[in-house]
Amino acid sequence: MVHDPADIDALLPLPEATFHILLALADSDRHGYAIIQDVSDRTSGEVTLGAGTLYRSIQRMLEQGLIVETRDRPAPELDDERRRYYRITPFGAAVAGAESRRLARLVRLARARGFSPKTA
């Protein structure tokens, strides 16, 4: 599926929370609390999303088409019936890719000026 680059660019740079949510959904569908946990695990507790930030971001990301609510449920023994599961869309993946390229470019530029990530 080809996405209009202008649609993607209009969303960049992504808010940090949005980027983290996209990363959390990259490998599997998750419900809200699982997203919070994943973000916290991946960042060794450095980033903890509050519920307020999470659901406001989710609402906006749904509107923007970055994620969808999925009707596929996990295996019954793993399913939490009260919860809704979210899935990244191809558009969401494209946006996440564009954002990581943008960040990589930024890091390259910083390195060229002698800012090494190790010394930062």
Partner: protein, 873 residues
């Protein structure tokens, strides 16, 4: 958890119902997994910081969404938005402007600390509820009362100030030093007056020439001394006495009124005029002790004054004290005038809201399909109400901003309505209080005209909205609501029309009152004599003689004279009359106004001489003391005798009547004045009654002649007679009399403007309602025509509906209007609250408005093509 659920109420409901449960279970999960009580506590403390900004963010997202939606839909059809903004701008502008003046005059506390404890004291005597105090009475009141922390006397006086360049006339308050302690406003520079500064103030502290202290106002400091900081300690001449400036007051200090620019100390000299209990000249302000109510103060003053009546039964007969809050020092008329304006402006706003509600209701119906689609797509009712309210509030805010601009244009006009008796600035401005009011009115307006349409438009059309023919019958609920709005609009505008009609009639009535003197072609020039240099009667006579003989010979001048005061400019100067054998039991007090005049005064003002003679230059203090009295004076005291030759006591001496002239209105146009007594200017002892020394030069000119060269010549004549005599207050008597009705004129114009606006809006309302009804009933009308109804039948049918609304609205409006008129009776100057002409005119205008509003829709209905109407179904 309950706490967290409560917090979630900060979110819009739609968001809450979508995510609330999950947020709660997430939070619960976190609490469960927290490592200890401290970690749990930290989670709970963190929660508001997570929820609050995000909830605001969600609201903000919705607002942006609604605004985007709104701007798109209004860009397609901007008519409604433009109308709504204009109408709200008019309503909010009118209200804000009127509020700013009402707030300043009636609502906000006076600009003095503890101002609620400040009171004004007056003598209450037969015929007068607010009479100035005599010095001995004042001193006794002060000594014998204990309700007040402090009491201070003052009086106004115009003085000549020579400091920088030409002499200037300065409105001065001669005050006791305690006044500054009572008002408790610190000076901007230097100090205020203190005890011991006395000894410089008029009237006539004989022999005293010590430089005395004066305090000047901010305006005078800026104007005359260029705001120079070394003004303190500077010596100036005040009415020919050396005085030293010791302080400058801040710009917002106005006491007793905004014209006062200088304060000098009051001295109680041991002289006749300060020992006479009939010499009433002092105004008194006092501060109640904390905890003493105004009623307790009144009760105490009643006891004090009863005691003084027993001690001085003749001078203090039936004399009591009037104690009123300084805030209430404003006439019933001024209060009513503002109340009427405020009421009228609120009416305009109500009508504007009703009309906008109409427009939005109409639009809501046009948008039913759009809203139905959105409902079907899952937008809850609350979401739709929110969108519609955002729309109306945005329109109101835009209108409010435009309204503030309008208000700022109206303010200079309204400032003139501030009564001159209040110690507050006459300029009004859009300060934070007024802006807060405008914001409140804007919000109320937005909600007011938006809420009904929003609720009506958003509810109950899940199915019906899709049906093309889904419409209301004539008496449907929606239609009834709209009809009720129109009836309300008509009622309010009819009530306003009645009020404005009555006010205009009152104005015309007052303008038609004969003041008793001719106002056209009379020029008045004030020549403020310095009381010190002109304390001798003959010295003044010399000046008058020289100025008058030269002025009378100027081409274009028919006659000229000097008098103490111009009628209606100075309303006081009322003295008691004593007549041998006159019984005490009079229902009206035996008082008359006192004026000293030169000969030719009556000719110049066109006051007719009924019998006897004018005063003459040969009437001196050595010849028998004479007087010219007004007809009402003669009628009251000698109803069945020739007044000429009668004697009476007045103005510190016994006088004989030598002439009778017509009555004039001394106080103002609306009130019959006390009778008038005119005394020859030379028949007064040196230094006595200096305040009454003639200083108004009046000139009768050839009709239609150019005044400028005459004024220049008069200026030269006066300058040659006394180079130090300033010339102030050049005006025509027409200006003086017109000035009497100026506040009424402004008020009548404003109320009429409000009434015209509201009747216009009602017309638009009727037009809107009928256009809507007619277009919704196309099919029915088409059918009727197809079945043989004639054009005239259709026309009648539509007009009948309009007439019904108009009649209902009118009858309601007349009831309202009559009630308003009864409340306004005190300012209607004798025009009855049931004035037939006003009501007849109002009915005509309302009828014309209904007809105009309904004609276009009716004609449109007549022109329907029956075939097309039915096919459209």
């Amino acid at each position: 958890m309950r706490f967290y659920r409560l917090l979630l109420h900060l979110y819009p409901r739609a968001f809450r119902s979508e995510y609330g449960e999950e947020m709660c279970s997430d939070f619960a999960e976190r609490l469960r997994r927290a490592s200890g009580p401290l970690a749990r506590m930290a989670l709970i403390l963190e929660a508001p910081f997570d929820v609050l900004p995000n909830a605001m963010g969600v609201h903000w997202d919705l607002l942006r969404q609604d605004l985007r939606h709104m701007s798109r839909s209004h860009a397609r059809a901007p008519g409604l938005a433009v109308t709504a903004i204009l109408v709200t701008a008019l309503g909010i502008g009118a209200n804000t402007a009127v509020f700013s003046i009402t707030d300043q005059v009636l609502l906000r506390p006076l600009p003095f600390p503890d101002s609620e404890r400040l009171v004004k004291l007056w003598q209450h005597e037969p015929g007068y509820t607010r009479m100035e105090l005599s010095p001995p009475n004042y001193l006794d009141w002060k000594r014998m009362s204990s309700s007040f922390e402090a009491m201070a006397a003052y009086y106004d006086f115009s003085m000549n100030l020579v400091g920088q360049g030409d002499p200037v006339r300065v409105e001065t308050a001669v005050v006791e030093a305690d006044l500054f302690r009572i008002l408790a406003v610190p000076p901007m520079m230097g100090r205020t007056l203190v005890a011991g500064d006395e000894g410089v103030a008029p009237p006539a502290p004989r022999g005293s020439r010590t430089p005395g202290a004066i305090v000047i106002g901010y305006g005078l400091w800026q104007g005359l001394f260029g705001g120079s900081t070394d003004v303190l300690g500077r010596t100036v001449r005040l009415d020919d006495r050396a005085s030293t400036i010791v302080g400058v007051m801040p710009p917002d200090f106005h006491f007793p009124d905004p014209s006062t620019e200088l304060w000098t100390a009051l001295e109680f000299t041991p002289d006749e005029s300060f020992e006479d209990r009939r010499n009433k000249l002092l105004q008194v302000v006092a501060k109640r002790r904390p905890g003493v109510s105004i009623d307790e103060a009144r009760a105490e003053m009643a006891v004090v004054t009863e005691g003084l009546e027993r001690a001085y039964p003749e001078e203090n007969e039936k004399t009591r004290a009037t104690v009123i809050s300084l805030r209430d020092e404003i006439s019933v008329q001024a209060r009513l005038l503002l109340a009427a304006l405020f009421g009228a402006s609120i009416c305009v706003l109500l009508i504007a809201c009703a009309n906008l509600a109409h427009l939005l209701l109409g639009r809501g119906i046009e948008r039913r399909k759009e809203l139905t689609v959105r409902t079907a797509l899952g937008a809850g009712r609350e979401r739709l109400v929110r969108q519609l309210l955002t729309e109306s509030l945005t329109l109101a805010v835009l209108g409010g901003v435009a309204g503030l601009f309008l208000a700022s244009l109206l303010l200079p006009l309204l400032g003139q309505l501030a009564p001159a008796t209040l110690p507050v600035a006459r300029e009004t401005m859009l300060d934070p209080r007024v802006l807060a009011f405008a914001a409140l009115v804007t919000t109320l307006t937005g909600v007011g005209f938006g809420v009904l349409p929003a609720i009506r438009s958003s509810g109950g059309f899940e199915v019906e909205g899709f049906r093309e023919g889904g419409r209301e019958g004539v008496g449907g609920r929606r239609q009834r609501l709209r009809s009720a709005l129109v009836v309300g609009e008509v009622a309010i505008s009819v009530a306003l029309l009645i009020a404005s009609g009555l006010l205009i009639r009152a104005l015309l009535h007052i303008q038609a009152i004969d003041p008793g003197f001719q106002t056209s072609d009379v020029l008045a020039v004030q020549t403020p004599l310095s009381t010190a240099r002109y304390e001798k009667t003959e010295r003044r006579a010399e000046l008058y003689g020289r100025v008058l003989s030269e002025a009378r010979s100027l081409p274009g001048v028919r006659s000229a004279a000097f008098t103490s005061f111009l009628p209606m400019v100075v309303q006081g100067g009322i003295w008691e009359v004593s007549i041998p054998g006159l019984s005490d039991a009079q229902d009206v007090p035996p008082t008359a106004s006192l004026r000293f005049v030169t000969s030719d005064f009556f000719t110049t003002l066109g006051i007719p001489l009924r019998s006897g003679r004018d005063v003459r230059e040969s009437d001196t203090f050595e010849t028998p003391l004479v007087s010219v009295v007004s007809e009402s004076f003669a009628r009251r005291y000698w109803p069945d005798r020739d007044p000429i030759g009668q004697r009476f006591g007045f103005g510190l001496a016994e006088r004989t009547v030598v002439g009778v002239v017509g009555d004039i209105r001394v106080r103002d146009l609306e009130k019959t004045s006390e009778p008038q007594v005119y005394l020859p200017h030379r028949q007064v002892q040196d230094r006595w009654l200096l305040g009454y020394a003639p200083k108004e030069l009046v000139l009768r000119l050839e009709p239609g002649i150019d005044r400028a060269p005459i004024l220049a010549a008069v200026r030269k004549v006066i300058h040659e007679a006394d180079p130090e005599l300033p010339l102030s207050e050049v005006r025509t008597l027409e200006d003086v009399v017109d000035g009497q009705t100026a506040p009424r004129l402004i008020q009548a114009r404003l109320v009429s403007a409000f009434a015209s606006l509201s009747i216009l809006l009602s017309g638009v309302g009727i037009y809107g309602l009928l256009s809507f009804a007619v277009s919704r009933r196309r099919a029915e009308i088409g059918l009727r025509m197809a079945f043989g109804a004639r054009s005239s039948d259709i026309l009648k049918m539509v007009l009948r509906e309009a007439a019904l609304l108009a009649v209902l609205g009118c009858s309601l409006g007349v009831t309202l209007g009559h009630a308003a008129a009864r409340a306004l009776e005190a300012i209607l100057a004798g025009v009855g609250a049931g004035d037939a002409i006003t009501y007849a005119l109002t009915a005509t205008v309302a009828l014309a408005m209904t007809l105009a509003g309904s004609l276009v829709p009716a004609l449109r209905a007549v022109r329907f093509d029956p075939v097309q109407c039915i096919r459209a179904e």
